[in-house]
């Protein structure tokens, strides 16, 4: 493997609280040294004006394999990941069949390695077939390499099953990632509010999310399992998590780019690219999510990259599937939502995309410490570009951000010391 010397960039490594203009040497797939006078390397990369960061990590993607390979595969999803600057992605188990046993976990791991672009880490289902009734073989899946457990797409509705899941996962010090939606209140097509009332669409009230978070926090109070709230979307949820953290409860949370940038007003016109679950909420909720990011209530950023066929997204709003893709524009969208308005600085943003998610999945990646696996992303913070869906590596095109003028782009993605992707027209 050729050695790499990345010169003159600004190295951002939140895990070491490091922000310094210096050089980075990669040898044998690992970070060899940071500093000046690092000697020679097989390839020298000029990173003047760039940020050199740990490889970006997204703990919430859907790669649809097995079962819906026409929407996305581990291969196409990995290509999308590295094109978006992500070196590690964690795929959700709501496939067909679901990832609810160690054979399926093994399949995703092997397929990820065979493709050989990003690190693709599987997340196992909490319950068999994600039905919320019986626990899946959680221990075996964790042992085989699952990095977390989730029934994403639905929450574990049954309180007794949920309590057992928390107890059981705690035994392995695993992390339970919950899609928080009380099903008897959920099931609508968009946020329940003035817009849904005027469009005549069934609504999903914020309480559907908050009720499950409240219940889970209560159940987990005496158990203390590592509990992670997926795609936070409401002001009430942010407040619940904020208070739980104050009470020293074992909870973490993520937020998706669309919940930082868009509101339910976008659903006017019935464009199904604005239909996702949890739904786009109000401007007040967006503001609260941003506040949650700023004060650390929300730990990390995750795209909830959810590919769907055009044919399915063309169905009537109420029938179309939920979700949008996000890997290839996520970084620029976070910059638009958080950095451009001055809410956070680059070090904090990169922390939420590297060290923090790595901590949640207990990975030793997400840092540029000497000796660490050389997952590195080089970012041009000033590059202006227009989101062009036709150039996405993903198999799907369900994304409302097409045509958006954005700033900041990954220019090179290095995984395990290997350049897996670089921007063609640098």
């Amino acid at each position: 493997m050729p050695s790499l010397l990345i010169q003159h960039g600004t190295i951002l490594d939140p895990a070491q609280n490091l922000e310094r203009r210096t050089n980075l040497l990669i040898r044998d797939g690992r970070v060899a040294r940071i500093g000046s006078d690092l000697g020679r390397a097989d390839r020298v990369i000029d990173a003047t004006g760039m940020y050199v960061t740990p490889g970006l990590i997204d703990i919430h993607v859907h790669f649809r394999e097995p079962g819906d390979e026409e929407e996305e595969t581990v291969a196409s999803g990995s290509a999308a990941a590295v094109a978006g600057g992500f070196t590690t992605v964690c795929c959700m188990p709501n496939t067909k069949p679901p990832l609810d046993n160690e054979g399926q976990i093994e399949f995703i791991l092997r397929e990820g390695q065979r493709v050989g672009l990003a690190n693709v880490f599987p997340i196992g289902a909490i319950t068999k077939a994600r039905e919320g009734k019986e626990l899946a073989e959680i221990g075996s899946m964790l042992q085989r390499g699952a990095v977390a457990l989730s029934d994403d797409g639905v929450g574990v509705a049954d309180a007794s099953v949920m309590r057992k899941a928390l107890q059981y996962i705690k035994m392995f010090d695993g992390v339970l990632m919950q899609h928080c939606e009380e099903p008897t209140l959920g099931g609508g097509a968009m946020h329940a509010g003035v817009v849904s009332v005027s469009l005549g669409l069934p609504g999903i009230p914020p309480e559907a999310e908050q009720l499950m978070i409240s219940r889970d926090l209560l159940l987990n109070r005496t158990i203390g399992c590592r509990y992670h709230v997926q795609h936070v979307s409401t002001a009430g949820s942010v407040e619940l998590i904020r208070r739980a953290k104050k009470d020293k409860l074992n909870v973490t949370a993520e937020v998706a780019p669309h919940h930082l940038l868009l509101t339910d007003e976008s659903c006017r016109g019935y464009d199904t690219n604005y239909k996702m679950n949890p739904p786009l909420r109000t401007a007040q909720d967006v503001k609260a999510c941003i506040e949650g990011v700023k004060d650390g209530t929300i730990d990390c950023l995750a795209t909830d990259h959810a590919p769907h066929l055009l044919e399915e997204k063309e169905l009537e709003f109420v029938h179309a599937p939920m979700g949008i893709i996000g890997l290839e524009c996520a970084l620029a969208l976070y910059v638009k939502a958080l950095i451009e308005p001055g809410h956070v600085n680059w070090l904090k943003l990169i922390d939420m995309m590297t060290a923090k998610p790595a901590q949640i999945i207990k990975s030793d990646r997400g840092t540029l410490r000497e000796g660490a696996v050389a997952d590195v992303t080089i970012i041009d913070p000033n590059r202006k570009w227009k989101v062009d869906l036709s150039r996405f590596e993903s198999k799907s095109r369900n994304c409302p951000f097409g045509g958006w003028e954005v700033t900041a782009a990954p220019v090179m993605t290095i995984v395990g010391g290997d350049v897996k992707w670089e921007l063609a027209e640098r």
Binding site: V197, G200, L315, H319
Partner: protein
């Protein structure tokens, strides 16, 4: 053959430019007023011995109904034939929930047969609007889910205007299952734009407070407003709502929100009672009220024809003008 109505194309040009009618929400008060005026001249056509004008001769109107409807479809069919259009009825129950032919495919297929106007009724909110973005012909919304039923809204205010000589300042109560009602929404928009006061009446499970932000007053106690309104528009009870616990029983619903004989005695002397049909007699409305002198229910049906003729006429004309300008 009779002459076309008195409204001349030169008059319509500046006021009506829409080739589709998708909702009342998007219309201005002037546009609504203009449709009502046009409908007035079409109502006169129905009084002639030969009830036909050549306004849409050679044009093809398809009634694409993906949901059961007898009244609205018949009304649109008759309206189109009175305008001398060729009318085709297309009914298909159910919707394309899974993969396979989508609604858009179906519409493209219909359009490929050389159709000028598609009148669409569909169970999914937004269907008409989404179609209007993908086809070249005109789309007239005949009801899309719980969103809107614009011709019903127009015919309702037409009927009120005819009765009172004005809309501005009227106090109108719309009673019943508001949240699931496209009729309520279209009425709300039409009435508020024309300066009427709208009071939505029903239990909180059927009338969310959010409607206040759309300009309505939300009231849970029917009796508290019944003596002060000019118009009572009763909506149909939908029995399937009982299953979702939006109200407990029909009996209890009738007790609190039905237009019963007892309640009716507390109404204003000149109160006007409306219902979009089909009625559940004895449930949301007593028969003697529905059939009595205060009822405008059959007038609504008659006016519906004139309003739909006006709408078909106007969207067709706008489409023709667009073609010329392109």
């Amino acid at each position: 053959m009779s002459e076309a109505p008195t409204t001349s194309p030169t008059e319509t040009q500046p006021l009506w430019k829409r080739k589709h009618l998708l909702s009342i929400e998007e219309l201005s008060a002037q546009e609504i007023h203009f449709v009502l005026e046009t409908a007035k001249s079409f109502k006169e056509v129905s009084t002639r011995s030969v009830k036909k004008v050549p306004a849409l001769r050679g044009r093809v109107v398809v009634n694409a109904f993906f949901e059961d409807s007898t009244r609205t479809r018949t009304s649109f069919s008759l309206a189109a034939s009175r305008l001398s259009a060729d009318v085709i009825d297309f009914s298909e129950k159910g919707s394309s929930i899974s993969k396979g032919e989508t609604l858009i495919d179906t519409a493209w297929n219909i359009e490929a047969m050389g159709v000028d106007i598609i009148v669409i009724r569909h169970a999914a909110a937004g269907s008409a609007e989404v179609l209007s973005r993908t086809v070249k012909c005109s789309i007239v919304n005949a009801g899309d889910g719980a969103h809107e039923h614009p011709t019903q809204g127009l015919l309702d205010i037409y009927t009120m205007q005819e009765k009172f000589g004005r809309i501005k300042g009227l106090r109108v109560a719309i009673v019943g299952d508001i949240v699931n009602s496209r009729v309520a929404r279209s009425n709300l928009w039409a009435l508020t734009k024309m300066g009427a006061e709208v009071i939505l009446v029903g239990p909180p499970t059927l009338v969310p407070r959010s409607f206040e932000k759309l300009g309505a007053q939300v009231v849970n106690d029917f009796d508290s407003v019944i003596g002060s309104v000019d118009v009572i528009n009763m909506l149909r009870i939908q029995f399937e709502r009982i299953k979702s616990s939006q109200f407990p029983t029909v009996r209890e619903f009738t007790r609190f929100f039905g237009l019963t004989g007892d309640r009716f005695t507390r109404c204003r002397d000149n109160v006007f009672v409306m219902h979009p049909g089909p009625m559940n007699r004895g449930l949301e409305i007593s028969s003697h009220i529905a059939d009595g002198p205060h009822s405008g229910i059959l007038t609504q049906v008659t006016n519906g024809l004139a309003v739909r003729m006006a709408v078909l006429y106007l969207v067709n004309q706008a489409q023709q003008e667009n073609k010329v300008s392109i």
